[in-house]
Amino acid sequence: MTGSIDSIAGANFWLIRGQYLFLFLHLLGLACFAYIVARRLAPLLGAQRDFRFDRPLERLGKVAKFWLGQWRHPRYRFAGTLHVLVFAGFLMLASHAFALLALGISDRFADTGSSGLYDAIRDYASTVVFLCMGIAIVRRLVFAPARYGRRSADAIFLLSLIGLLMAADGFFEGSQAAFHGQQGGVAEVFPPLSLAWTVRTVFASSSLATLRSLHLGAYLAHEFAFFFLLCYRPFGIQFHVETSLFSIYFAKLDRGTVKPVRWGVPDGQLDKVASFGVKKIEDFTWKHILDFYSCADCGRCSEQCPSNAVGRALSPRNLSIKTRDYVFRHYPVWGRSEDGMALVGGLYSEDEIWSCTTCGACEAECPLLVEYIDKIVDLRRGLVDDGKAPQSMHKPLKALESRGNPFGKMEKKRADWAQGAVKTLNGAGATNTLYFVDSITSYDDRIQQIGRATARILGRLNEDFGILGAKERDSGHDVRRFGEETLFQALREHNTEAIQHAGVRRIVTADPHAYNALKHDYKDVPPVEHISEVLAGAVRTSRIQMNAVDNGVYTYHDPCYLGRHNGVFDDPRDVLDSIPGLRRVEMKRCRDRSFCCGGGGMALFYEAKENERMGVRRVEMAAEAGADTIVTACPFCMVNIEDAIKVAGMEGRMTAIDLAELVDRQMAN
């Protein structure tokens, strides 16, 4: 009866020899998993192309950093640490899990070596994972963060299953050791307080029959938990265990860019593309559908999303999860497929899709590098293609088409802001630098001051520069991001020609949106610098002297398209810190967690339903930080923040100033 404990394959389970039982269960589990995965791959195969097979080394680097290195997890200290522990545990336990499965089929896979270092680490790994599951469950039940929303039952079920898997392992090993110990043989040694150690200690004096039952029962429990989890994961958030490696390997490499309308179709042949953008689920690219699978529903994106924060209809996490659920219904593992539907109007509301400012806070936070901006832009392209651009955007778009600016102002007045103080490049001279002004700085009364300050600074730094004047058109940055690709390309073509004709060697701009466009959306134009980079360079080489600031507390607001999308965080701060006497504080949300002011470009022409303005939130954050002056480096931030100061009733207590204006004011040389 008691016999040996060492063979699983040879043991009988209700009259069935373990060898046959587990061979059958393994094959059944693997077959189910293979079938489910094949069904999950079907939508990817029917989706649009997406060229993600280039630059393998760079991609492996991303895998090393974001997958293996879990780079972004600790941004949320508690949950992130738990995840890193569990992830590390899984990695260490992977080979052990397979060894355990093999044990069911043949004794040849039995662990014959003595307990080495790996075994000790492994025993602790499973213990740590087990404890993490416990903590995670308690956390979900007792102190769940708001970002998790309401779907905790499924999460708790999955966490429990993993806990069960770990416990089964501990019972399996511990009971075996206790058995060996009682038989007087060589018993395995476990590190103190590990699961196996605990089981062994607790059951040290149990009968051999009990220990044997525990041992076999634990193996059976492990078998069922393992294969149930394997086959259940593709139905929910834990699918990321399988997909995350691929999602991260194939993640977008070039930030600040927008995907082409159709991968593999050159811009010149777009007229032949029958439909633009995403209208039905199959219009997403395979990578974007993979993203939906990979979303772990952690809610970090939505917690960082400014649209979500001010009560707009958009929540990035929600967008992923509901799209994933729809993909599952439309391509079910079994049963009837839910009919295809128009995504906007069905799954999403139009307001939801127009609510995004493309600030990128969600993408900067996602530990799995899920992309949102490209999807939003593609959905907008679909809406624009169907004539469903918001009514309030029709006139600005038409004006951009005919006048090259969204305000419908005359081209010939585009250089009026400069009051004749800046030369217009005619292509004949060999001017070094082009100051690309863009529409809002050219035409908006308030923002023209930023243009004049920028021009004065460039002049005082003895830069040889000029402007395109009437030949400049809107950079089209946000025209593209609001889905009007054809108009964007027309604007780009016009500007590219004008810039090339001007014959300059570099471009400077004070508008981060123009900066991002010229840097990432335009091709064959000279390198572009934001004025803050120019200023930081001048500070470093001592080409600029500043007068002291006596009083006030300053805070720097990172514009999305300067900071998050282009990584320019330090230059503006260095410039500020070079001003003698300037006291600078940071807001809680700063650098790559900066909170969008409300958006630029076409976002000025769309009023989403919201509870409050993003800018008001931002101004309150500045006040919380103890600042009385918000320094920004973007014309749209200025528009939104100055508005917000008025809306928040903080006039007189809070002011906003552009970095260029501040430097222009403080510059001593």
Binding site: L270, D271, F276, V384, D385, D386, G387, K388, A389, Q391, M393, H394, K395, L397, K398, A399, E401, S402, R403, G408, K409, M410, K412, E484, E485, T486, L487, A490
Partner: protein
Amino acid sequence: MEILVCARRVPDTSENEIELHGAGNDIERDDLVYSVNEADNYAVEEALQIVARTGGSVTVATVGGEEDEEILRREMAMGAARGVLISDEAFAGSDGRGIAAILKAFVQAGHYDLILTGVQAEDGCAQVGGMLAAMLDYPFASLVTSIEVLEGRELKIGREIEGGSKEINGIDLPCVLSIQTGINEPRYVGMRGIRQVASVPIPTPGASDLGIDPHAVGEGAAKMKRVDYFAPPAGKGAEMLGGSREEVVDKLMDLLKAKGGLN
């Protein structure tokens, strides 16, 4: 249902700074950008929505020259099946009655169940629709803000009445309706849409094609001529309310009540 929409190209008031030219009877037309007349755009959208519900097709016609083709392309990009540029040197300088006479000849050369115009051209007098109906001896309704197609060649239409009221009328087909802005939300047309219809031919019937007597239309036959064009002198400057926020609000409330803005 076969629907004809009569449209017109006008200087876009939102994208131009309108200035008078030297002679004082017209505006400076260099450096102007043009659009389809806004109310006409609503009319085309309404026609497209009716056709989407009941079948048929939409034709958009304008009286003008080569430069007016752009608005036809824009409306075709919206979904109009045909654009027609009614063009002849003899038409130049026509007054409203002349335009109506030209359109009348065009309507009689085709088969249309319903003719829509915008409520008025931004640079016009809101007269062509009514005159066209009279010349065709069709029923006419102006300031239409809703259209419902009933059985038996009849429409139920809503009209805007001064003071914010609305009335509902039955009207027999064929008829002419002038469409008020706000009746719908016109769809967006971008450059891509226009490019896609760039090579669709646009017929250009002239006076002889339509059997129009060249002497009955054009500048010579115009019975109404513009003699002056000016921006009205600026009135007394706006009144600035002073004081604290509460005082300003109180004064504003009093003023609004006094002027009938608040009941």
